[in-house]
Amino acid sequence: MLPLARAFYSSVARISRNNRVALHTASTLRCKEATVVDNEAPAENSEESGSDASPPDGKDRTKVIPVETSMRYLKSAAYRTTYGEEFVWTQYRRNHKGMYAPRKTRKTCVRQGKISTGNPCPICRDEYLVLDYRNTDLLKQFISPYSGQVLSYSKTGLCQKSHLRLKVAVEQARDCGLLTYDVPFREYDYSEYYGKQEEPIQLKS
């Protein structure tokens, strides 16, 4: 009787653990995504059916997701059901004690290949969001439409490590011309190019 009850208990615990993972994290999406993201989803399914003993760990971040997958994910239906039309960081709220949040966000969400916190930052919570200079759809969400600068972590809630990675990626993307920005205006001193004997051309209004 006792082993039977224990087995029942453990299976209930497993189900509840799977359900407890917040709705917006990637692990629940993984099954939805099976139709969209083709290269790793089948592998996962076969793994699950083969060895039932180890369920996929939603906190594991050792697997490297290629950028191409992430770029496809941002265009997929799975992404839209999760985030809708909003940015990936709009719905995120930081956890902190007291009225005021600490000035800086946490140093990192991932330690030793695992999510080490209960409220990982918007980039770390979804493993299919990869910060890379080619992933312009994602980078654009973190750029202010008014000043053209990268939004502060106090607004987006990114952990310090992700924020640094974001800044590097944005700079690389601008270097490659994948992200456009307003180039500073350069005023020409015509006499430098046309020689001094000629007067500069009068611009008529």
Binding site: S147, T180, P184, R186, E187, Y188, E192, Y193, I201, K204
Partner: protein, 390 residues
Amino acid sequence: MSLLRHFRKLSVEHTRRTLAGSASSNTRQYDKDPQPLFTDAETQRLLQNMTQLQLDKVFRKRTVSDNSTETKFMTTAQLEKEFLQTIVKANKLLQMPPVVKVKEDAQDALITKDAALKDFADTKYVFTDITFGLRNSERKVVVRDVDGSLSYASLDTRKRMNQLYFPLDGRRSYTPRMFSKPELLQRCLEEHKYEFVLDRLTVQYEPYELEFHQISARVFEHLMESKQFDLLRSTRHFGPMAFFYAWHRCIDDLLYDMIRQDYLHNAVELIALSYKIHQIPVDYKQTLGQLDALQPTPGQRALAELRNCLKKPQEQHIQDDIQAAIGKTEQDFAADEISLKFIEEYIGGEHALKKVQLELAVQTLKELNLEKLQLYQGLKKAHGVQASSS
């Protein structure tokens, strides 16, 4: 990190050479110094008119760190003054990048050769005069080589030193990958980021550099294929673009676009510019003079547009209403007639390459104009407006 940077430098050097090698063969280059023709007062006026002045586009909200606006209460007189200043400011923002020939390194760069200083150090020394108030082109930069010879620095070194001591906002000390990798540039062009590429080009390179000429030529040629001329209209790059087309005898695409968009005045100016550059004996000055008398310059037009928003609705005359509805005035119709005649002469001549296309466009426009004219006259009659009241 330093290793990475080294690799990047290597690859930049490599691609620069390949770019220079491949681009010079297939892009159009200025075969002689274009500067005297470009700086000519008449050419400048033509180019400025062609550029047009759309205030919305010139003063679009820029995503820069300080783009604050100021709100003030003003009297009408003050406002009037402010309008005038706005036009001056807009013209400043439309300043065209200079079109000059490619500058080569000086041949007699050597100043002295002091054999006594040979092997004094195992690196070169660069000396830069950083006196305040000097222009970048006037600054003296000399190099002491390992073998003891003292010579003027090459243009490349000069640029690097100037950037080091007097950095230009937006210029990178390394070549942006967008310019060093042809496939990235191609991607930018395919996404129609023409203005961005050209803006960045003006900041990154000097107008007399070979890369400046090659990349701008590539952008203009791509633009000729995609025919998105509207993206550059009313920016500082439109003038050099029109000049480039006129110089290389390929104005037909731009001309077609102008006729389609009903910018006949500009079309006439473009043809006149091409006549002027290639010294074709056609008298265009008379037509231009007539048109100038009939139509305001872009500056005046923008000013009128600004003043228009001061008018109260009850002041609006019925004639203005009709003109606003049609989009043309009586003078515009007269000017169109003159320009159409001039354009048809060009199409009939030997210099037009895409005659059929242009003829069709002109025909369509003529029919449209006729309808507009009929509507205009009909409306005037219906409202009982006298011809003399204008």
